[in-house]
């Protein structure tokens, strides 16, 4: 019976799969030092930035593609990707936004006009390789907050960029971070000065539009002493039969007593029901709780992408610092996800909490992979991890790979994981009380993910709940 029910919550298509018809500028396919020089020239970058890119490229060339994840990644031809694509009117901004682009973001529900904007959310909209606009910049600047595209920050705030860039994710950290460091195009830069509480949610929206391209976003968030910011990230892409690569690097620096809340709703195109097409989402996200009493919280809802390889991590360096990781990862059809977190405890009395909820359906494979490491100096450090998996259908897989290392006798680490399915009993119970079969599955899944969804900012929570339902459509019982 449950087979039919699950079949029936079906067949709503990927909503954001349209393509925007806008004149675009491309650079030639392929990757070599000339291409990197060209990207750097397009962005009118200073010499040190180009040097940084070239150094990263040279290191990347010597690195092998990582194979340790529980993923089946087809061979990627890095010479067959266009590394830079921009809508043509780029030189006119920020005075004027192409009406086509505006329509696109409107359709995606991202308002680019401040008057029409959701109350209290400032947006940086990135279209392929460039940031189209950043709203509320002047309002934020009054408080000393810098919120702009990464390219602008390189020109306008070179000292901050040079100080913090690659300080959390070193260039040679891994294969994809090295690639990103060589060819990154745009992303957001956020700086919250000492003691300032950011009055609105900051948000970046990433849109892949052009075919044959890759998107290499670079985001850097710095929260100075005693400050607070909540940052949200969203992303979508058109439906295509080809796989497109998205390799981002996000770095977050949290100084003494500061707090950063980072939320993601990842809805890249997941490929069709036969597993054709979709985005490869290979992302390095890492934050450091640098000062004492600092706090970093990650919340992610992962529903899209053909393949996800993503481990938002925290280095707990400051004494009494704390971090949280809340994740819901949904895979359906032929999607694959290998995602989780790393909590590296260095300072005394550091605390971390991990709550991960995986949902696999169809023929998908969903893995949690996480590291909790207590270094010898992590006196009285504490971690609790909970990783649950929900299986829908007998052709999918759910896996849990935690790595727990403790070298301090006063540190305490706890981990637990469970795997189960939606039982006939639960469905029957709901049906009996007049709740229809589709609703019942939605209810159970939302209840299962509630602990994580409740951590999302309000603007995201509603979207995320809807997404969960849509993502599970067509899941075979």
């Amino acid at each position: 019976m449950s087979k039919e029910i699950l079949d029936n919550i079906t067949d709503k298509e990927y909503e954001h799969g349209f393509v925007t018809d806008v004149e675009q500028e491309f650079i030639p396919k392929g990757l070599n030092e000339d291409i990197i020089r060209l990207i750097s020239a397009k962005k009118d970058e200073p010499e040190w930035m180009l040097e940084f890119r070239l150094e990263a490229f040279r290191r990347w060339q010597k690195m092998p593609m990582p194979k340790w994840a529980h993923l089946d990644i087809p061979e990627i031809d890095f010479q067959d990707i266009i590394y830079y694509a921009a809508p043509k009117k780029a030189e006119d901004r920020p005075k004027e936004i192409d009406p086509e682009l505006e329509k696109t973001f409107d359709k995606l529900g991202i308002p680019l006009h401040e008057r029409a904007a959701l109350a209290g959310v400032a947006v940086d909209a990135v279209f392929d390789s460039v940031s189209v606009t950043t709203t509320f910049r002047s309002a934020l600047a009054e408080k000393g907050i810098i919120f702009c595209s990464f390219s602008e920050a390189v020109k306008e705030h070179p000292n901050l960029i040079r100080k913090y860039l690659a300080s959390v994710v070193p260039v040679g950290d891994n294969f994809y971070s090295a690639l990103n460091s060589a060819v990154f195009s745009d992303g957001s830069f956020v700086y919250i000065p000492k003691g300032v509480r950011c009055p609105m949610e900051l948000s970046s929206y990433f849109r892949i539009n052009a075919a044959g391209t890759g998107q290499f976003e670079r985001t850097l968030i710095v929260a100075d002493e005693g400050s607070y910011v909540s940052y949200m990230e969203g992303c979508t892409a058109p439906m295509r039969d080809e796989n497109q690569l998205h390799a981002a690097v996000v770095e977050i620096i949290v100084e003494k007593d500061a707090e950063v809340k980072y939320s993601t709703v990842q809805n890249w195109y997941p490929g069709d029901a036969e597993g054709k097409g979709g985005i490869f989402n290979f992302v390095t996200k890492r934050g450091i709780c640098k000062g004492s009493g600092s706090h970093l919280s990650w919340t992610q809802v992962e529903t899209g992408s053909a393949i996800t390889w993503k481990y938002p991590s925290t280095i707990l360096k400051g004494d009494n610092s704390s971090s949280e990781f809340y994740s819901v990862a949904v895979t359906n059809n032929f999607q694959q996800a290998d995602t989780g977190t790393k909590m590296i405890h260095i300072g005394r009395n550091t605390k971390s909490r991990i709550v991960s909820k995986g949902i696999s359906a169809g023929r998908s494979q969903n893995s949690y992979r996480g590291l909790v490491k207590m270094l010898p100096g992590a006196e009285n450090a504490r971690n609790f991890s909970q990783c649950d998996s929900l299986l829908i259908g007998d052709k999918c897989g759910a896996h849990t790979f935690p790595y727990i290392e403790n070298a301090n006798k006063t540190a305490v680490v706890e981990h637990e994981a469970t795997t189960s399915k939606i039982s006939e009993d639960q469905l029957f119970y709901c049906n009996q009380r007049g709740i229809g079969p589709e609703e019942a599955v939605g209810l159970i899944v939302n209840g299962y993910a509630r602990e994580v969804l409740s951590k999302l900012p309000m603007e995201f929570a509603v979207e995320a709940q809807k997404l969960l339902q849509v993502s599970l459509e067509g899941s075979v019982g």
Partner: protein, 208 residues
């Protein structure tokens, strides 16, 4: 009958196959001074097969204890349970790895695994990697792992009732290991193991 193995120094490799309706019980005991590399590969190949693997380890010196368990559920209606508990003191290094692999179509599987550790010293180190790899949906699987210390509130409770700190620690450690030893069915064997563990625990406490 429970198979009680007192693990010697060096490598210990066991490949077990449990057929339909059969049951395997094994208790591994690793005493102080033993550095070992234990590799268990258990395969449940017939419906109704059951495997219960228990292990206890105590390290107080420079031991290196490696335990790796692969539990394969190849067919439906099988049960497995693993419980490993250990204490690491001195400059010992404990590595635990345990994986439950539930094959496609191995429905109605119940598989549980637990690994709990107590760290007694700053030089000792415990790494644990419990893993689940599940390809069937109608299953109940879980694992849990902890690395922690002796509870100070419990110690305070006992001391306020006239039990010395040393004795309190011994009691805590005995009760921590007990759930493993309980699974030895033969009474004489069980008593022997318990008293051996107790004297080893006293030894370690004395040396802290």
């Amino acid at each position: 009958m429970t198979d009680v193995i007192i693990v010697p120094d060096g490598q210990l490799v066991r490949n077990l196959e449990v057929n339909a309706g059969q049951k395997t019980d094994m208790v591994l005991l690793i005493m102080p001074g033993v550095s070992c590399d234990v590799r268990l590969d258990v395969r449940l190949t017939g419906e109704g097969a059951e495997a219960n693997i228990y292990g206890a380890y105590i390290c107080g010196g420079n031991e290196k204890v490696n335990i790796a368990v692969d539990m394969h559920h190849d067919v439906p209606y099988c049960n497995s349970r693993q419980l490993f508990k250990g204490i690491a003191g001195g400059a010992s290094k404990v590595d635990f790895y345990g994986k439950i692999i539930v094959a496609k179509d191995a429905q109605r599987t119940e598989a549980y695994q637990e690994n709990h550790n107590i760290l007694l010293s700053d030089e000792a180190k415990v790494d644990t990697k419990p893993q689940l790899e599940i390809y069937a949906d109608d299953v109940k699987c879980s694992h849990g792992a902890t690395i922690g210390r002796l509870n100070e509130e419990e110690q305070f409770y006992m001391r306020s009732r006239g039990i010395s700190l040393e004795d309190a620690k011994v009691l805590q450690m005995i009760s921590f290991i007990a759930p493993v030893l309980e699974n030895i069915q033969d009474e004489t064997q069980r008593d022997a193991a318990s008293s051996e563990f107790e004297s080893q625990i006293r030894n370690i406490i004395r040396n802290i």
